[in-house]
């Protein structure tokens, strides 16, 4: 029995190592000179350099990509919050015979293959003259953020104890102020998780951004993927540094999202 436990512990330790080591190694490589990367035996001891990182942060294309990503994702998430949260609340608290269909419709948007959305949209934006602009990207991403936020926020609102809301009604609050002053603050933690999740989703989005931009509206994932297309002659350190830059924003939400997971499953228990 004890050896079984030990083997189990070892397997878990290996899995934990595999989970983070490749990323750590990439971060380490971003601090290396090219000579220290292109070695047959991986080098752990080396003289660190900030050249790769400063090169990345000094490139116009990277800065534009960063700006585009922040604006496109920020606006799309904002639209998702403004339109998605109230709708989710209404579905959760005023169930009618369509509630199930609405939930299924919102989920089914996720079945649509991204190519099937991106190709026609590209033709449409080209015709309107908005191709390769941020507004086009924001509108397209809103479809993603609204549906995801709605999908995750419905159970979050359902988890708010009904009694609190009923008490507020008795105290003379109207339907809107109950939503605004009671339901939103009480569910805030779960809702923050839902919003963070939608941000990570659009920040990581690649195919739609690739098809809807050609030069001006490129987001950071596109810029990063283009760096590599110049072949392997590009110093690897620079590529590694761009991967690190691209990966940092989603990782900032690690705490919020793991808290969100915990709260989702704690509700199920009760």
């Amino acid at each position: 029995m004890r050896t079984g436990r030990l083997i189990g512990q070892a397997v878990l330790a290996v899995a934990g190592f595999v989970a983070v080591f490749p990323l750590l190694w990439t971060a380490l490589n971003s601090l290396k000179n090219n000579v220290d990367i292109i070695t047959r035996v991986p080098r752990v001891v080396f003289t660190p350099t900030l050249a790769n990182i400063s090169y990345i942060l000094g490139r116009d294309s990277v800065l534009t990509g960063l700006y585009n990503s922040v604006v496109a994702c920020g606006c799309a998430v904002l639209i998702g919050v403004v339109l998605g949260l109230p709708a989710a609340y209404a579905v959760a608290r005023y169930p009618n015979r369509w509630a199930g269909d609405i939930q299924f419709f919102v989920l089914s948007l996720r079945f649509l293959p991204p190519v099937a959305v991106a190709i026609p949209l590209m033709v449409i934006w080209l015709q309107i003259g908005l191709y390769d602009t941020l507004p086009a990207l924001i509108v397209t991403y809103s479809l993603l953020t609204i549906s995801v936020i709605m999908w995750l926020a419905i159970p979050a609102f359902q988890a708010v104890p009904k009694e609190i809301e009923e008490a507020a009604f008795v105290d003379g609050y109207g339907a809107y102020s109950v939503f605004w002053r009671i339901a939103l603050p009480v569910a805030a933690r779960s809702l923050a998780g839902a919003v963070a999740f939608s941000f990570v989703l659009v920040w990581n989005e690649f195919l739609i951004a690739l098809m809807l931009s050609s030069s001006n509206a490129k987001t950071l994932p596109i810029v990063a993927s283009e760096l590599s297309q110049q072949g392997m002659n590009v110093p690897w350190g620079i590529l590694n540094a761009s991967v690190v830059l691209l990966s940092l924003p989603p990782l900032l939400f690690l705490g919020v999202l793991s808290g969100f997971l915990n709260s989702v499953f704690r509700q199920k228990k009760t």
Partner: protein, 288 residues
């Protein structure tokens, strides 16, 4: 208790209207384009009705892409579930609460990464000469070259391993949380009956979790459809067409090779019909 209010209408109708417009316009337009013969290079077009679809079924590269997509779907979904259940049960059995929290945090990291990042991280790692993941092989064989991404037989599995790295570890956390929500009595009872640990899970806990596990698999099936980023960065569908999935082929037909937007759109429409029908049926069964 709740009095009549205008809230449901004002909150739901505008959002649903916007969602409907944003989703139906591209969907219907995709069908329209698929029935024409548009190309990126020229503005003119005419209606060709179902000619694109007929061409597709005679296109051997398209049939290959269908097969690759099906393989991708099966490999990633099965491997993800196996890894998730295996590690989830292991954490439940042998890890102390503090260790569990640590592993949960570590296992969520890969799925948060942009797929482009994950693809690059592993593309470097799989590099035959300098990669960190191929280093053990070089060390053991005295410098032989192992290049998983450029062999037709292994490329799909090498890319799939990145997908499982992201989703399998993440789902392990969810499986653990699901196990933690189970009541302890049935497990105790099985233990009193001298059931072995694996028997407890195979015959008691996992059957109790059947419904959420199936939902989890359903989510993974949907997410597996989004393989494009990984494949685009790691292999571009290569070597040859060994990892060319439907979205990769649609993209290269529409944008890289020939700019045949209508042909690509016909492919997208077929994908859309197949996924919507399959997942609607599955969803109804899961709910029932």
């Amino acid at each position: 208790m709740r009095r009549r209010s205008s809230l449901p209408v004002t909150f739901v109708v505008p959002t649903l209207a916007i969602l409907l417009v944003l989703s139906m316009v591209p969907t219907l337009y995709a069908i329209v384009i698929a029935l024409q013969n548009r190309e990126l290079s020229s503005a003119g077009y005419s209606w060709v009705w179902f000619a694109n679809f007929v061409d597709l079924f005679l296109d051997r590269r398209f049939l290959n892409a269908v097969w690759v997509s099906v393989k991708w779907e099966i490999v990633t979904v099965v491997a993800t579930m196996v890894v998730a259940i295996g590690l989830g049960v292991l954490m439940f059995e042998v890890a102390s609460p503090r260790l569990r929290n640590l592993y949960c945090l570590l296992f969520i990291i890969p799925v948060l990464l942009p797929r482009v990042s994950a693809a690059f991280v592993w593309k470097f790692a799989y590099h035959p000469l300098y990669g960190i993941a191929t280093y053990p092989y070089r060390l053991l064989t005295g410098g032989l070259i192992f290049d998983p991404l450029s062999k037709p037989g292994s490329a799909l599995f090498a890319v799939a391993s990145v997908d499982v790295w992201q989703w399998g570890l993440f789902f392990a956390v969810i499986v653990l949380k699901l196990l933690e929500t189970l009541p302890p009595q049935p497990i105790e009872a099985a233990r009193l009956d001298h059931a072995r640990r694996w028997q407890i899970h195979a015959y008691v806990t996992l059957p109790m979790l059947k419904a959420p596990l199936i939902s989890l698999m359903f989510v993974k099936m949907i997410e597996s459809l989004r393989s494009f980023d990984l494949i685009y960065v790691m292999t571009r569908g290569g070597p040859g067409v060994a990892t060319e999935t439907l979205d990769m082929y649609a993209f290269s037909q529409g944008f890289i090779e020939s700019g045949k937007v209508s042909y690509a759109s016909a492919m997208a429409v077929l994908m859309m019909i197949a996924t919507v029908i399959t997942f609607t049926m599955l969803w109804k069964r899961v709910q029932a």
